[in-house]
């Protein structure tokens, strides 16, 4: 069956051009970048530094401020814990938004064993952080604010510049999880004013297993992984050379192709948005109408449950995600793992927590035909489930 992939927020295929460039670093150019006394190692070190420069180039940073990690989860943990540990003499209070990714939220919560306290700042019904509440939550012992650039579930883009200004004014470090935006829309660390920023390769057609933390010059973190002093001691471990090369290449491609991709995504998104509005009754779009990721449409429909929608759509070859409780963490072990989407709760989606929430995240290779096919089959699925529902 033909598959229509509408879940680019969860992962993306690696661009074949990227794979092509990675290949030699598995076999012929396999050296360890630390082996500087012979050619295989020197080639590796050179490739590593070239990749670093390319990644830096995508986000307006200097190469020396890019630390390669195994992904965004590691980069987020490293930023949160690393900044916390390095600054615990100054204070142990950390501020997050109510809609952070688990890798930020639980990294911060893990610090509670060492006396750190977390304040979670609410967002409005569009998912935009409440700047007043943010300011009010700042304490004398606040050392870090971490707010995501764009939310994966509802697509809302946060006012990073304003948050950075608030943080800077108070002398508090500011980290942004930019997994949703880097490689998708323009991100410039200087213009955003962040002290640290997380990105992931596989969210913009790069390989899985590689990510990076941007760390502004002069910011110290205590490392999460000690060892052989790779990555200037910030992140030890033999470098994933094919991965870093892949991230470098994809950063360069993303930079070049970004304007045309955005244009394409906006057209498809509007088609989808309009089509859904016209064809589905009792549909509620989530997230901000304009401050949002270009390929992102999220919504919930009344009286049809999310997992059931997913299953029916998958049956038609359409692959996407639901923020509904029942569809997340199916591999979990306990009922608590089924906790409702924190994001939907945070933006005030009513309390049938297994609502029919769906997230469609379009990618560069989706086309009009695919969107139209979705618009064709989706109303019937909703109808079918509504007919099954005990409610009117």
């Amino acid at each position: 069956m033909r598959k229509i992939f509408f879940d680019h927020i969860s992962t993306t295929p690696t661009d074949p051009r990227v794979v092509e460039e990675m290949l030699p670093y598995f076999t012929s150019q396999f050296g360890n970048p630390s082996s500087l006394f012979y050619e295989h190692g020197q080639q590796a070190a050179k490739a590593l530094e070239e990749a670093r420069a390319k990644v830096a180039g995508l986000i307006g940073a200097e190469a020396q401020n890019i630390i390669f990690t195994s992904g965004a989860t590691e980069a987020n943990n490293m930023a949160i814990k690393g900044i916390a540990w390095a600054n615990e003499d100054k204070g142990r209070h950390i501020i997050l938004s109510d809609i952070e990714h688990f890798s930020v939220l639980f990294a911060a919560q893990a610090l509670s064993r060492w006396g750190f306290e977390i304040t979670r700042v609410p967002v409005d019904s569009y998912g935009i952080i409440d700047l007043g509440a943010l300011k009010a939550s700042i304490r004398a012992d606040t050392i870090l604010i971490s707010i995501m650039h764009a939310n994966n579930e509802i697509g809302t883009i946060e006012p990073i510049v304003e948050i950075a200004n608030i943080a800077r004014e108070k002398g508090i470090l500011f980290h942004a999880d930019a997994v949703g935006t880097v490689g998708i829309i323009p991100v410039n660390v200087g213009e955003l004013g962040v002290d640290a920023l997380t990105l992931a390769g596989h969210s913009f057609y790069g390989p899985k297993g590689i990510g990076a933390l941007y760390l502004k010059q002069g910011i110290r973190i205590d490392p999460l992984l000690q060892g052989g002093f790779q990555e200037a001691g910030y992140r030890s471990g033999t470098e994933n050379l094919p991965g870093t090369v892949g991230l470098g290449v994809v950063a360069q491609i993303a930079k070049e192709e970004m304007p045309s991709r955005i244009e394409h995504l906006l057209i498809l998104r509007d088609l989808l948005w309009r089509g859904l509005s016209q064809r589905i009754q009792d549909i509620h779009f989530t997230g901000h109408p304009t401050q949002r990721l270009p390929g992102h449409v999220s919504f919930w429909v009344e009286n049809a449950e999310g997992e059931s929608l997913l299953l029916h759509l998958a049956f038609k070859g359409i692959e996407l995600a639901s923020g509904s409780a029942c569809s997340s963490n199916i591999r979990g072990r306990t009922e608590e793992d089924l906790a409702a989407s924190q994001v939907l709760t945070a933006i005030g989606v009513p309390s049938h927590i297994c609502t029919g929430s769906l997230t469609i995240s379009l990618g560069k290779d989706n086309n009009r035909e695919e969107v139209e096919y979705f618009l064709e089959v989706f109303p019937g699925i909703v109808e079918r489930l509504r007919a099954m529902s005990p409610w009117k």
């Binding site: 069956m1 299953l311 409780a325 029942c326 979990g332 009922e335």
Partner: protein, 131 residues
């Protein structure tokens, strides 16, 4: 079914895609409506009962794949059973009849058991009023 989807058994998917006995019933002898506080699922179960025997069962369910499949399966299991037999149907039994459910989804099968209990006590209450 060859197109096995998700973490569910083929049988779950069969009952999800082709639910048995879905629909309403006029003047049911027993009616149970239960909700699952964990995830908001709701099931309504209708029973037609004569001489202590369940002649027919229908359901309407709002919920995930497991909720719909267990609803469908429990209606199948109920038909032809006596009240006493029906009372012994557990959520484990329903899940087993579906070739199992993922651990995290077991709570969804509770819906079926509770719906059944509710429908039978509704029946017994009504019968008590009538007799």
């Amino acid at each position: 079914m060859t197109n096995k989807l998700g973490p569910y058994s083929d049988k779950v998917m069969d009952h999800f895609m082709n639910p048995r006995n879905m629909g309403e019933m006029e003047d049911p002898d027993g009616l149970g409506e239960v909700g699952n506080p964990v995830c908001g699922d709701v099931m309504r179960l209708y029973l037609r009962i004569k001489d202590g025997i369940i002649l027919d069962a229908k359901f309407k369910t709002f919920g995930c794949g497991a909720a719909i499949a267990t609803s469908s399966m429990v209606t199948e299991m109920l038909k032809g059973k006596t009240i006493e037999e029906a009372k012994k149907i557990t959520n484990q039994a329903v899940a087993e009849a579906l070739d199992g459910l993922p651990p995290v989804k077991m709570h969804c099968s509770v819906l079926a058991e509770e719906g059944l209990e509710a429908a039978i006590s509704d029946y017994e209450r009504k019968k008590g009023q009538i007799s």
